[in-house]
Each structure stands twice: as structure tokens, then as C-alpha cells.
């Protein structure tokens, strides 16, 4: 699914490199826990994986295609088609309804919409049910929901159309313990059911237990070792 070779990235204006990864492979359908403390370049790596950032050196290949080889518009379209992202918080457009938030990726990629069983609207409703969001909330504005509910909607949005790669950047850090476990279970199960690869980034090692693989970013990152 994801292949990284000889990746080097430095933020413009920063002193030195923040990322230097020689090799990283993530197979399809795996659930990977990527561990690392704050500030070590986790977010940068996620940006590179999703094709939002482009590395000047090295290759980041998603489904065999290097992000850097594509032009900006094509990158965005490809991300719309193959990637789902869940942030720590503020995942939704507050003035858009819950249902329309879930549909967002399908609006930006026709191919993704086509993969939805029964059409995007039906698929969205199915997903919302699976994340246990009551139907009465579906037409409501997204900012009317609680944090926990918003995270669940975010998961549904990331999963609609069964993208190849789901990236989760500390999605449970804003949730309390009870909600956290439920969310984790939910996310893992939906990814497995849809066949999506999950890259879960967090600084909390205790969550690592349920995952297929555990990776440590500081161990992978030569730049961290050198600095």
C-alpha cells in the first residue's frame, strides 16, 4: 500500500531536516500504530503520506504511485479518491450537516463515489449507523454535536467509499477514557471490514495493543538520531 524510500524533508526556514527515513513499507489492509512523542515529525510524515506535503528528495508511493511525480491538481484528486484523514479535533465543517460532512470526499472524487455501495447517500447513512450515531442527528449542523459524536462522524467520513489508506492523527486524545476505547474498537473494526489500511499515530503507547504492527517514529527517523 505505502512505500517510502530515502525520504528527506526539511521545513522551509528551519535549520535542518526534520525527517530522514530510509525505508518504510506498510502492506495493504494492515492496522499500523505509529508511535512518537510530540514534535518529532509525526504530522509532517502524515502530510507526506497523504500527499499534502511533497518531499524534495525521496519517494512516497501510495498504491505504487509516487506523490511527487504528480501535479498539484492530480495529487488532490488522488487523495480524494484513496485517502481518509481523521484529526484530533475540529474534523468537520461546522456549518454543514452531519450527513453532508460524511459525503465530502465523494464530492471531490467521482471514483470514490462510485465505490459506494448503493450510492454515496446510502453508504453514508449505513456508515453513520455503524458508528452508532442516531438518525435524528444526521440532518443537524455538525457543530451541534458533542466531541465524541463528532469524532465518530469523522471516522465515518474517512471511511466512506472504502479508501485504500486511512490516516488517524491522535484521534482519541480529546476523548475521555470510556469513549476512547469505544472509538478505537469502532475504527479498527470498520477498517478491517472495508479492507482499508490504517495508520494510527499517537504518543500514547497504551493504545498499541490492538494493532497488527507497532512502529516507532524516532527509531525510523535518522534526522532525529542525528540532531
Amino acid at each position: 500500500m505505502l512505500e517510502i524510500r530515502d525520504l528527506h524533508y526539511a521545513w522551509p526556514g528551519a535549520g535542518g531536516e526534520c525527517l530522514a527515513i530510509e525505508r518504510l513499507d506498510i502492506a495493504a489492509g494492515r492496522a499500523v500504530f505509529l508511535h512518537g512523542p510530540s514534535g518529532c515529525g509525526k504530522s509532517t510524515l502524515l502530510g507526506l503520506m497523504a500527499g499534502v506535503l511533497v518531499a524534495p528528495r525521496g519517494q512516497v508511493r501510495l498504491l505504487g504511485q509516487d506523490w511527487a511525480a504528480l501535479r498539484g491538481g492530480t495529487r488532490d484528486a488522488r487523495r480524494a479518491e484513496h485517502v481518509g484523514v481523521i484529526f484530533q479535533q475540529f474534523n468537520l465543517l461546522p456549518y454543514v450537516s452531519v450527513a453532508d460532512n460524511v459525503l465530502l470526499p465523494c464530492r471531490f472524487s467521482a471514483a470514490r463515489a462510485r465505490r459506494c455501495a448503493g450510492g454515496p447517500v446510502v453508504a453514508a447513512q449505513a456508515l453513520l449507523q455503524r458508528v452508532a450515531l442516531p438518525p435524528s442527528l444526521w440532518p443537524r449542523r455538525a457543530d451541534a454535536l458533542s466531541v465524541g459524536q463528532q469524532q465518530r462522524v469523522a471516522a465515518a467520513r474517512a471511511l466512506i467509499g472504502r479508501p485504500g489508506l486511512v490516516i488517524a492523527d491522535e484521534p482519541t486524545s480529546a476523548l475521555d477514557a470510556a469513549l476512547r476505547d469505544d472509538f478505537m474498537a469502532l475504527l479498527l473494526e470498520e477498517c478491517r471490514a472495508g479492507g482499508s489500511t490504517l495508520v494510527f499515530v499517537s504518543h500514547d503507547e497504551r493504545l498499541a495493543a490492538r494493532f497488527d504492527e507497532r512502529l516507532s517514529l524516532p527509531a525510523l527517523n535518522r534526522a532525529a538520531a542525528l540532531s
Binding site: 502530510g47 499534502v52 484523514v85 465543517l93 471531490f108
Partner: protein
């Protein structure tokens, strides 16, 4: 991208509280621009329509524009009269086909009274050589039997609710319609009432708000007056007036028609060189053009001011959207995550601005149309100008389009800022 438009619409609606003022200011600017253009158009059209088929207007040697204004549009006052001898001399010129003398100075409940001959109804035309048509009744006879007969313009009859046979009295001098203050200050010709014998069909010109009587009748009601007030102790009853000589000696102006329009310069020169008194003859078309040239500067100034108002309102749009951008960076990151690129972000912001401009412009255009509709009857009654509630002209569409275009261009500023922010932030805005 309809998806983007929908998101833009919802986003703008979400912040409608802040944006409402911007919408209102854009509406005001558009209303000013379009309203002024409408007014300009309608006033010009109205003036142009007001006289047709008259080759020259002869009056006292004031100025061409002033003569036109009071002789045709009943606006302003005549500073001087001309003698009937002068009018007769002009009529005797071999190139002249007809002359119609007119006398102004009295009014009836705010509407000007025009003293003239029966030839007025025959020769006067408006619009595209359209003659005056009587909707009811007949013209005054101009003989001594029918001395106190009056013919009303359509607006007078409608507004005051007069019908054939109505008795009316005339007031000396011109008084504004609202100031119907009677009592001692009203210089009424109360002893000589007139009877309405005819009502003209609507023309959309100052004719509509005029009361027409014969020249002899004007003489009759002023027989026992001097200097604007009745002579104390002298009173000539209405039916005795005809015993006096009622031939007019002075009139305000005369409308002149020629046998061949090519002769207009010669007659004009004849009038200018007439030795017995200072006379002036104007070509209506030329005088109107002079008027527009004089007014044109003011029009351009008003237009420029309205343009400035539009610029200011668009600047406020840019400021409001830019100010709110910082809080929206996470929103933009969400959009990046679902597959939008920086150019989508730019398009989104630009679309928001364009939608705000569009709503403001449409509101403004509607307000201008509404204002024209609302003010139309008052303007018609007061000035004789018809404001048309017609479809917008090319110029008005152009103004509307210019506001829209300017709004779209202005929205590119926050769009561009959002583009840069999104590029820099990626998925993780540092706010």
C-alpha cells in the same frame, strides 16, 4: 464545481450576521448606480418626448434652456413676457405655417394653468409626432360664449378627481401642490370659476398636469387685478367681463411651426433681429442638448460618487472576509484532507465573496426599481416627468455586471490569502 458553490453558500450563510452589513452596503451602492442611471434615462426620455413637431419656440430674450424649461416643461418662471404684436409679426413671416401663443402664470391647486388658443390642440404634438387626444369632452371653444371653459390634463383630472362639468377656480401665481393653504394668502380668482369641458388622454408629458384655458379667459380674470392682487374696490363680475376687450396684449411665449424645416435658421434670425422688442427663438432639440451638456457634468460627478461608494463597500467585503480567515484555518485543513487543493480553497473564498456581492447587487437593483415605482407618481405630479417601470436598459445591466465583476475580483484577495495559508498549513494549521 457545484459542490464548492454549495459549501460557499452555506459558509456565507453561516456568517450572515457579520456579512449582512456588507450586503447592505453593496446593495446601497448598486441601488445608487442603477437608480441614478434609471433617473437619468427616464428624465431624458421624458424631456425628449415632451415636444415634437414644433420647430421654434419664441419668447423673451432670456436663455434658450430657460425658455424651453418654462414654455414646455412649466418649470421655473418667465422673467419677461412678449407682446402679441411680436407674435403676429412672426406669424406673418412667409416661412411660418402656424403659431400658438401661450400664457403661463396662474395655477390651480399646484397645477400650472396654460392660456392658449384652440390651435394648441391642433398643432401641439409630443413623443413621435403624436397629437393631443381628448379622452372626454371637447376643447374650449375660444369664443366669448365659452369664455370660462377649461380642458384638463389627464393627471389633473385623475389626481383631483374631476369630471366633466366640474367647477374650478384658478389661483394667481404658482404654488406648490402641498401648500394648499387657503385663507387670506391665497390669491384666488374666486369670482370667476371655470367649467371643465374636456379631459385630455394621458401623454406622459407636462401636458398631463396642466389646466388649459383660453387666452381671453386669462385676460378676463385679470381685468380687475393689478400687480398680482385684486384692485381694491373694483370688481367686475364674470358675465360682464366679456364686454371688455379681451384680446391678449402680452403672452409668455409662442410655439411656431414652419412650412419647411430648412427655413428654421432664417426665421430664427428674423426673430433675433426683430427691432420692436427683444425676442429669442430656440430650436427645442438644440436647447435640450444644451441642457444635457450643462447637466452632464453633474451627472458624471454623481456617477463617480456612486462608483466610490461601490468601491468602499467592496473594500469592506474584503476586510470582513480577510479578518475571519484566521479562525477558518482548521476548516481549510479539513477541506484539504478530503481532497480539496489550494486552488479549491481559493475558489471557495472567491465564490463566497461573489455570492455576497450577488445578493447585495440584486437587493440593490430591486431597491432601485422599487424606489422608482414608489416615487413615480409623485415625480409625475410634481415635475411632469414619467418614471418608467420598464425592463432595465443595457447601461443598467452593464452597471450591475460591473458591480458583480468588481466583487468577484475583490474576492480574489481573501481567496489568494487563503490559498497561501492553505499551502503553508497543509493538514496541520499552527493556530
Amino acid at each position: 464545481m457545484t459542490a464548492l458553490l454549495q459549501i460557499a453558500a452555506r459558509s456565507a450563510w453561516n456568517r450572515r450576521g457579520t456579512l449582512a452589513l456588507v450586503v447592505l452596503s453593496i446593495a446601497l451602492a448598486t441601488a445608487l448606480l442603477i437608480g441614478l442611471e434609471r433617473l437619468r434615462n427616464d428624465i431624458r426620455g421624458s424631456f425628449t418626448q415632451s415636444v415634437s413637431g414644433t420647430d421654434l419656440i419664441v419668447g423673451a430674450r432670456t436663455g434658450p434652456v430657460q425658455l424651453m424649461l418654462y414654455a414646455v416643461f412649466r418649470v421655473g418662471g418667465a422673467t419677461n413676457n412678449i407682446s402679441m404684436d411680436g407674435v403676429r409679426a412672426v406669424a406673418a413671416h412667409r416661412a411660418v405655417a402656424w403659431t400658438v401663443p401661450i400664457a403661463l402664470g396662474d395655477s390651480h391647486r399646484g397645477h400650472p394653468v396654460l392660456g392658449t388658443t384652440a390651435g394648441y390642440f391642433e398643432h401641439f404634438a409630443y413623443g413621435d409626432r403624436q397629437p393631443l387626444v381628448l379622452a372626454q369632452g371637447r376643447a374650449f371653444s375660444g369664443t366669448l360664449d365659452g369664455l370660462y371653459e377649461a380642458v384638463l390634463g389627464a393627471e389633473v383630472a385623475q389626481r383631483l378627481g374631476y369630471r366633466l362639468g366640474q367647477r374650478i377656480t384658478l389661483t394667481h401665481g404658482l404654488r406648490a401642490a402641498g401648500g394648499d393653504a387657503g385663507g387670506e394668502l391665497a390669491a384666488e380668482h374666486a369670482d370667476k370659476p371655470f367649467t371643465v369641458v374636456g379631459v385630455l388622454a394621458r401623454t406622459g408629458t407636462p401636458v398631463d398636469r396642466t389646466v388649459h384655458v383660453s387666452l381671453q379667459a386669462i385676460e378676463a380674470i385679470h381685468l380687475d387685478w393689478a400687480g398680482g392682487a385684486p384692485l381694491p374696490g373694483v370688481s367686475i363680475a364674470a358675465e360682464h367681463a366679456r364686454k371688455f376687450s379681451l384680446e391678449p396684449r402680452q403672452v409668455t411665449a409662442a410655439l411656431v411651426g414652419l412650412k419647411n424645416r430648412v427655413a428654421v435658421f432664417n426665421v430664427q434670425r428674423f426673430v433675433a433681429e426683430y427691432e420692436a422688442e427683444p425676442l429669442l427663438a430656440v430650436l427645442p432639440g438644440v436647447a435640450l442638448d444644451e441642457l444635457w451638456a450643462a447637466v452632464g457634468l453633474g451627472e458624471r460627478a454623481l456617477l463617480a460618487m456612486s462608483g466610490l461608494v461601490a468601491l468602499v463597500s467592496l473594500a469592506s467585503l474584503v476586510a470582513v472576509v480577510l479578518a475571519g480567515l484566521n479562525e477558518r484555518r482548521r476548516e481549510l485543513a479539513v477541506l484539504r484532507a478530503v481532497g480539496a487543493g489550494p486552488r479549491h480553497v481559493l475558489a471557495l473564498l472567491a465564490a463566497e465573496g461573489a455570492l455576497v456581492t450577488l445578493s447585495g447587487a440584486m437587493l440593490g437593483a430591486a431597491a432601485a426599481a422599487g424606489a422608482v415605482l414608489a416615487a413615480g407618481p409623485w415625480v409625475q405630479q410634481r415635475f411632469g416627468i414619467t418614471l418608467q417601470a420598464t425592463a432595465p436598459t443595457v447601461e443598467q445591466w452593464a452597471l450591475f455586471g460591473a458591480v458583480l465583476l468588481a466583487g468577484m475580483l475583490a474576492s480574489l484577495v481573501p481567496g489568494w490569502r487563503a490559498y497561501r495559508l492553505s499551502l503553508a498549513d497543509g493538514l496541520t494549521p499552527r493556530t
